[in-house]
């Protein structure tokens, strides 16, 4: 981890006291502490994060960091520990040991503050099929403390951003898988989170819907400067979307770097990421993974398809 502790602390303060002036003062302070301002901050940091279920270690002492506005891809087969990792980072599941922080807030001790900073799209379908797209958005706006007079305008903006304006008043039940995913991403962005977690955002989607979701994720990062962590087991997704990749296998982070770095590490710049995975994990990505994870992935795929 490159950043010293002080800067984490400052980052934390900055988030707690919103005023711009204070933010600027803190930037100077950061500078005077010898931290390069041009170096993006680590928005997410974990240290030996671990989660154990009975005798299964789902996430095993994982340490990594995600920089501001980065799209970070967590790669691995079903059952590698990606979803457990996301559950811990989104405060749904307390870690067994280790630490994690987002925007400087501890994911266990300051879970409430973390929740204000993040958006989350679960692997499963989380939009309510019996409500319309707009109703789904307004519900989330209320739960996330979006100011009353901005709820509607933000919902309308999100719908148009995701190309869903035409179907705003249609029930989500009638949507295609790709439309549901775009709506869910719109929901997770309404409160302008600093960090967005997408768990298998394109699972079960056809190639056209998939690339549309990719396009929207990248636009969203560019427009709102959102930092994104997504999980996937598609190498194509990594190559199209991610600035940086972490490869997980049996709960451990077995490799970390940009796609180019990983290819260089195995001594073959022409290698596909599939080949990279085989080298680091010792088996092909689609052969690993257990029954439970596989059945869940299929269920989601069925419901979206």
């Amino acid at each position: 981890m490159r950043l010293p502790r002080q800067s984490l602390f400052l980052n934390n303060c900055e988030n707690r006291f919103q005023p711009k002036l204070l933010g600027r003062c803190l930037s100077y302070a950061r500078l005077s502490l010898g931290v390069d301002l041009n170096e993006p901050l680590n928005l997410l940091v974990t240290e030996s994060l671990t989660r154990q279920f009975d005798d299964l270690v789902a996430v095993d002492h994982v340490s990594f960091a995600v920089k501001e506005t980065e799209v970070f891809g967590l790669v691995g087969p079903n059952g590698a520990g990606k979803s457990t990792m996301i559950k811990m980072l989104t405060t749904l599941l307390p870690p067994t040991s280790g630490n994690g922080s987002i925007c400087g807030f501890d994911i266990v001790r300051q879970a409430g503050s973390v929740r204000k900073q993040i958006g989350y799209v679960p692997q499963m379908v989380s939009a309510d099929g019996d409500l319309t797209a707009k109703e789904n958005l307004l519900l989330v706006a209320k739960l996330y403390d979006v100011p009353r007079d901005e709820r509607l305008s933000r919902a309308v903006e999100a719908l148009s951003f995701m190309n869903l304006s035409d179907v705003a008043d249609k029930r989500v039940r009638q949507f295609s898988g790709g439309m549901i995913r775009r709506l869910e991403i719109a929901q997770s962005m309404l409160h302008r989170p600093k960090m967005l977690f997408l768990d298998e955002p394109t699972v079960g989607l056809d190639p056209v819907a998939r690339s549309s979701v990719w396009k929207h994720i990248l636009e969203l990062r560019d427009k709102y400067r959102t930092t994104i962590l997504l999980t996937t087991h598609l190498m194509e997704e990594v190559e199209n979307l991610c600035d940086k990749v972490g490869i997980m296998h049996h709960g451990k982070m077995v490799a970390l770097g940009t796609a180019t770095e990983l290819k260089a590490a195995i001594g073959n710049p022409e290698a596909t990421l599939d080949e990279v995975f085989i080298l680091f994990a010792g088996e092909r990505i689609d052969e690993a993974g257990g029954f439970r994870a596989a059945s869940r992935a299929r269920r989601t795929a069925r419901r979206l398809g």
Binding site: K87, T90, L92, P122, L131, V140, L143
Partner: protein, 259 residues
């Protein structure tokens, strides 16, 4: 103050979801009207004729109507936890829990939603009662008291059900437990016979059963010449305290459902 406003806003957001769904698809709640109708038509008629249950000055059908109303609300509310497990399987629950909304606001919103459902169901039972010639009391204050009893009863039993859901976590296990729970709750109460008729051990159980207080409150407000075992204030107090306690417990257990 801002926190209270936020709490209320979030709880009502949950209620709004429920009412929207009910408005779009009322078939489910309509089907719930069948069971109380059967009880009043079959059980009620037979018991009225045979006069084996001593209900004092009240006709048996009048005595029974509030009990059946409470029962129909109970039978719906007690399966409320099932929808929470369903929401977990869908991923909707995860989205709720990642939001900064206080867990207690989410749970209270669910409880209030169940209360709204209960109120709609009670309209059916009221209509049925009018048709069967039950002597209903239409005094506005009594009507209000009756609505409150239904609201609180539904809120309590739905939250109780949510607690069970958070403990058992799977639909199959919940179905089994739900079936096992409803009958004892119903029969260990004053819903269809007075407490005075019960053996001593069952009397003790019925005193611990919130359904008894809900029925008692309904019986003193819904029927002309209605009787009660407890002061109405005590009935309400028991229901409110039980509901708040259940909401606090459920709010602690709710996040565990998503793990």
């Amino acid at each position: 103050m801002i926190e209270v406003e936020g709490f209320v806003c979030k709880a009502f957001a949950m209620v709004q979801v429920e009412t929207t769904k009910l408005r779009r698809d009322p078939t489910e709640i309509l089907s719930r009207a069948i069971q109380p109708a059967l009880w009043m038509l079959l059980f009620g008629q037979v018991m009225s004729r045979s006069r084996v249950i001593n209900t004092g000055s009240l006709r048996y059908l009048d005595f029974m109507a509030p009990g059946i109303l409470a029962q129909s609300v109970l039978f719906t509310s007690i399966f409320y936890g099932l929808s929470a497990i369903w929401e977990k399987d869908l991923g909707i629950l995860q989205k709720y829990l990642v939001s900064p909304a206080p867990r207690s606001a989410l749970v209270a919103g669910k409880a209030l939603s169940a209360g709204i459902r209960g109120l709609i169901q009670s309209v059916f039972v009221y209509v049925l009662s009018v048709i069967l010639g039950v002597h209903l009391n239409w005094h506005p204050l009594d009507l209000l008291g009756g609505l409150l009893a239904i609201l609180m009863g539904a809120a309590f039993f739905s939250t109780f059900s949510l607690i069970i859901a958070c403990i058992v976590k799977s639909r199959e296990r919940f179905m089994g437990i739900g079936q096992v729970m409803t009958m004892p709750l119903f029969f260990a109460s004053n819903a269809i016979y007075p407490i005075a008729m019960m053996p001593p051990w069952l009397k003790t159980v019925s005193h611990l059963n919130p359904l008894t207080y809900q029925v008692d409150m309904l019986r003193s407000t819904m029927i002309v010449g209605g009787t009660n075992n407890y002061p109405i204030g005590l009935d309400l107090l028991v229901l409110v305290v039980a509901t708040i306690a259940a909401i606090l417990i459920a709010a602690r257990l709710y996040p565990g459902l998503a793990q």
